[in-house]
């Protein structure tokens, strides 16, 4: 599974993108968001307030119950501020 981080989620985690193999129980967006802060202090800090984290799966906005599978591209980012 490919994870991408943008804006302050990128600067706080220190990761722009990575390949991960999450544990078995990570099967949807909600469980991914629960797992991520357990990966170290920078992740714990970045995912302190998950209410402001937006998720896209394969470049489409996804809800917490969106299922995840091995080849997915999952992006994590704060609310957008373009335009």
């Amino acid at each position: 599974m490919k994870l991408l981080y943008f804006a302050w989620l990128r600067t706080k985690t220190g990761v722009a993108h990575e390949e991960v193999a999450p544990p078995e129980h990570v099967r949807d967006v909600a469980s991914l968001i629960e797992w991520l802060p357990t990966r170290g202090p920078n992740f714990a800090d970045a995912f302190k307030n998950t209410a402001v984290v937006r998720v896209a799966v394969n470049q489409q906005y996804a809800r917490p119950d969106h299922p995840l599978k091995a080849g997915d591209e999952v992006a994590l980012f704060p609310p957008v501020t373009g335009g």
Partner: protein
């Protein structure tokens, strides 16, 4: 129906002229140009980060939605990324239609949705260092007035 995400500036006059060229059924073109605004505390540049691939996809979906809702002859969205300074153009949204109401409403719709759905983030440079601009609640409210089925698609 065109989407462009680019680092370079754009020529508004040339873009609008190209949009309506050879289509004499068009009665009006509404456009919006967004500019880097100088915030209190003097000149501040910014860097726009985006999510290549998803950006184009989201903009294309927003544009398709506008074309479903209004009778449009042509639409154009250009959004820049990278480092920009106060006064620089960030975005151009233009819609062309036989009638001005459709052109106005669809252009307004596009920029409101773009502000809440297109994956761009602003990193602002200030005297105290750089910081990520926080999303304005007003943008969600502005977008929500167009909400039909698309409203609940946002994660």
């Amino acid at each position: 129906m065109a989407i462009r995400v680019q680092r370079e500036d754009f020529d508004v006059g040339a873009e609008l002229a190209a949009l309506t060229e050879n289509n004499h059924g068009i009665g009006g073109v509404t456009s919006f140009v967004g500019l880097v605004r100088e915030m209190g505390g003097g000149p501040s540049a910014m860097t726009l980060e985006h999510y290549p691939g998803m950006t184009e996809r989201q903009l294309a979906e927003i544009e398709a939605e506008a074309s479903r809702r209004w009778k449009l002859d042509a639409t154009l969205i250009i959004h820049r990324y990278g480092r920009l300074e106060p006064g620089d153009r960030i975005v151009l949204v233009a819609t062309a239609s036989a009638h001005r109401e459709a052109a106005f409403e669809s252009c307004h719709f596009l920029i409101d949705w773009l502000k809440t759905r297109a994956p761009f983030w602003k990193l602002e440079e200030t005297a105290k260092g750089s910081h990520w601009v926080e999303a304005k609640e007003g943008d969600d409210i502005a977008a929500s007035r167009w909400a039909e089925t698309t409203a609940n698609e946002k994660g």
